[in-house]
């Protein structure tokens, strides 16, 4: 089903998760340290990285930042605490989603499948052009001026959902459902962080956004431009 790189320092967790995810049809490669994980990532790009935050040596946040510096591969964090510090830090480092230990393999599998779907389903609609921003819904590419932007699947999907009907507000809950496929208990910080990263890539002034605007108390909307 998918190529998964599992970066986790505890041998038992690696073994048991690899076995369980293998049953769900995935192919798993394991790394016991962040450094090893980054090396394996250079040799062959997986579909998804499952990354433990508490690693000896280079910690998970740093590993995540280094992955993001050269790749848009989806990253799902394993947080040993549901702590704000971990979650926020991981999201700021560029992770797409997180699960809290102890995680049930079927939950992790659902997260993996959700993140994989984001980068796939293309739409029949033609591309839309908003000022210097071009969103090609069929090719799943976004260009600003004449530069093609390197968006992660999650960032791309948020932009596609928001720009589907410019000017219409989508709540964080709606975005969590549409993009992350969460039920009502999804963490809205996933949305807020992703929007921050998206703005950094598509806005001229991320602090004064034009494309993805905040509607206080309700959510986000695209434009109107």
């Amino acid at each position: 089903m998918a190529q998964i790189l599992l970066i986790e320092d505890d041998q038992s967790i690696r073994t048991s998760l690899a076995l369980a995810l293998g049953r769900h049809g995935h192919e798993i490669r394991e790394a016991g340290t962040g450094e090893d994980g980054l090396r394996m990532l250079a040799s062959a790009e997986p579909d998804v990285v499952v990354l433990d935050l508490m690693l000896p040596g280079m910690d998970g946040f740093e590993v995540c930042r280094r992955i993001r510096a050269k790749s848009a591969v989806p990253v799902i964090m394993l947080t040993a605490r549901g702590d704000d510090f971990d979650v926020v830090g991981g999201l700021e480092a560029g992770a797409d989603d997180y699960v809290i230990k102890p995680v049930q393999p079927r939950v992790l599998d659902a997260r993996i499948r959700a993140v994989l779907r984001r980068g796939t389903f293309a739409e029949q609609t033609q591309s839309g052009r908003y000022r210097d921003l071009t969103i090609d819904r069929a090719a799943l590419t976004v260009t600003k001026g004449d530069q093609q932007l390197a968006l992660t699947p999650t960032e791309l999907r948020v932009l596609l959902e928001l720009s589907r009907s410019p000017g219409q507000v989508l709540s964080r809950m709606q975005l969590l459902e549409l993009v992350w496929e969460y039920d009502y208990l999804g963490d809205s910080r996933l949305v807020d962080n992703c929007v921050q990263r998206l703005r950094a890539k598509i806005e001229d002034e991320p602090a004064r956004p034009v494309f993805v605007q905040t509607v206080r108390g309700f959510g986000y909307r695209f434009g109107p431009v």
């Binding site: 505890d10 038992s12 967790i13 073994t15 048991s16 998760l17 076995l19 369980a20 049953r23 040993a80 605490r81 549901g82 702590d83 704000d84 510090f85 230990k101 102890p102 995680v103 049930q104 393999p105 079927r106 964080r172 039920d183 009502y184 208990l185 963490d187 809205s188 910080r189 206080r216 108390g217 309700f218």
Partner: protein, 477 residues
């Protein structure tokens, strides 16, 4: 630990305080001393003044009488008596046998004086108060020198009346001065007393202020000892007490922090093996049909216990986060009935629970924590009470109200107080199936984190009733 000092409703402190007593004592001593001293000096001055005046009057009278004596013929006639009278100014009476001449107002002369002078050889004095003021009466028996050189009473007696008004005025002035001196001593004494009181009271006040600070939790509060008197000793003792208090409290706080950290660390460490166990349990669960029945029973037990352990560790972590002050609410606009409906639906409680709520009710809250509050209260109601459970939502401008009412026997008498304690199990016979024992504690912490309140009691004619009030429009993060 902060307790407000009970308000004094007795006499105002100003009348009962140390300051008032000190000042009163100082003033009393000072005024008494001043009064005694000035009265004593005034009295002795008055006495000597009187005595010297009397002496002067008497001596003058005696000298003049003596001066006239050689010119007298013996036995004297009225003319002789007149000579004596004229030698003396002021009111005077001169008598010999039955002869009597006088001048001025002499009514004041007493019988006592006459008796004293009569047939005597000594001058007599008497002070009398008359209508016209204080008078000095002087009685002088005129002596004649016989041929044998002996002095004998001649039978001539001279009585003078002298006014002591001046002397009395002087004495009065002295008395007035004494009174003034005493009166002037009063403000001076008060001033001195105030200074003395301040010297004593300032350290006492500082002591009180510092003690209050300590009581309010400022364990660094200390006095500045100055001087070497008893108050300085008191300050030193106080500081030593505060220091030992501080060290024991710090020690306790450190031990508590350590034990909390220990709990957090233990819970944290437990997650690693639990992650493995959870994975393994899930795989085993998929294979249950293929297992022999005895192994299946064992595996089902292991799976169930793994889940219990997981939820216990989750709850421990949650409590540890509250203890560490790491819990932060993520406030966002939520539709409360929607969250409650989802909470019930995701846990398959829709059949047993009735939601009594307006169609829409917006508030700014932490969605996940609201879910925890509702889930714990409803779960608790279903475990300990009887269905149907009612969840009632209402709101005013400032607050939202969430009530969870069950249909069971209600809370036992006095059971509400401990209900939110950690590991409190309402029903000891219920044993281990009821959950981690942390659910209600976590519920309460989540309510308090929002700045809300939670109350447990019994509903009228129904079972237990839990009432949560949360501020409706917190500032969004």
């Amino acid at each position: 630990m902060r307790r407000r000092a009970p308000r004094d409703v007795r006499a105002p402190r100003a009348l009962r305080g140390l300051r008032a007593r000190l000042i009163a004592a100082c003033v009393a001593v000072a005024v008494l001393a001043a009064a005694t001293a000035s009265w004593a000096s005034a009295a002795s001055a008055s006495n000597s003044l009187l005595r010297s005046t009397q002496q002067r009057i008497a001596e003058t009278a005696a000298r003049r009488i003596t001066d006239t004596a050689p010119a007298l013929v013996y036995p004297p006639d009225t003319d002789d008596l007149r000579k004596i009278r004229d030698a003396l100014d002021g009111p005077v009476v001169v008598t010999y046998e039955s002869l009597r001449v006088h001048a001025g107002e002499t009514a004041a002369i007493t019988e006592q004086l006459r008796t004293a002078v009569h047939g005597g050889e000594h001058l007599a004095l008497q002070r009398v108060d008359s209508a016209t003021g204080m008078k000095l009466l002087v009685g002088v028996p005129v002596l004649i020198t016989g041929v044998d050189g002996q002095q004998r009473p001649s039978g001539i007696e001279v009585y003078l009346v002298r006014d002591l008004g001046d002397v009395v005025r002087q004495v009065n002035a002295l008395t007035r001065n004494a009174i003034w001196t005493s009166a002037l001593a009063l403000p001076v004494a008060v001033l001195l007393a105030l200074l003395a009181a301040r010297g004593v009271l300032r350290p006492v006040r500082e002591l009180r202020g510092t003690a209050r600070k300590l009581a309010a939790g400022d364990l660094d509060a200390r006095l500045r000892p100055s001087g070497a008197d008893e108050l300085a000793e008191l300050a030193t003792t106080f500081n030593d007490t505060a220091a030992s208090l501080q060290s024991s409290i710090s020690e306790l706080a450190r031990m508590e922090a350590d034990s909390r950290r220990f709990v957090a660390d233990v819970a944290h460490e437990l997650r690693t093996p639990l992650t493995t166990l959870t994975s393994v349990a899930e795989m085993l669960e998929e294979d249950l049909e293929r297992m022999p029945s005895d192994a299946r029973a064992s595996i089902e037990l292991a799976i169930a216990e793994t889940r219990r352990l997981t939820s216990l560790v989750e709850d421990l972590m949650e409590i540890a986060r509250f203890d560490a002050g790491a819990a932060q609410p993520h406030l966002e606009r939520v539709d409360m009935p929607g969250v409650v409906r989802e909470c019930l639906r995701s846990r398959s409680w829709t059949e047993q629970v009735r939601l009594d709520s307006p169609e829409e009710l917006a508030a700014v809250l932490d969605r996940r924590r609201l879910d925890v509050i509702v889930a714990n209260l409803v779960g608790n109601a279903l475990r300990h009470g009887e269905p149907p459970v009612v969840v009632r939502l209402s709101a005013d401008e400032q607050e939202v109200h969430l009530e969870v009412i069950d249909n069971g026997p209600g809370l036992p008498e006095g059971g509400a107080a401990q209900l939110f304690d950690r590991f409190y199990k309402a029903d000891s016979s219920r044993g281990r199936s009821a959950g981690s024992g942390l659910g209600m504690a976590i519920t309460a912490e989540n309510v308090w984190l929002h700045g809300g309140t939670i109350e447990a009691g019994n509903a009228d004619g129904a079972g237990a009733r839990f009432a949560v009030r949360l501020p409706r429009w917190s500032e969004e993060t």
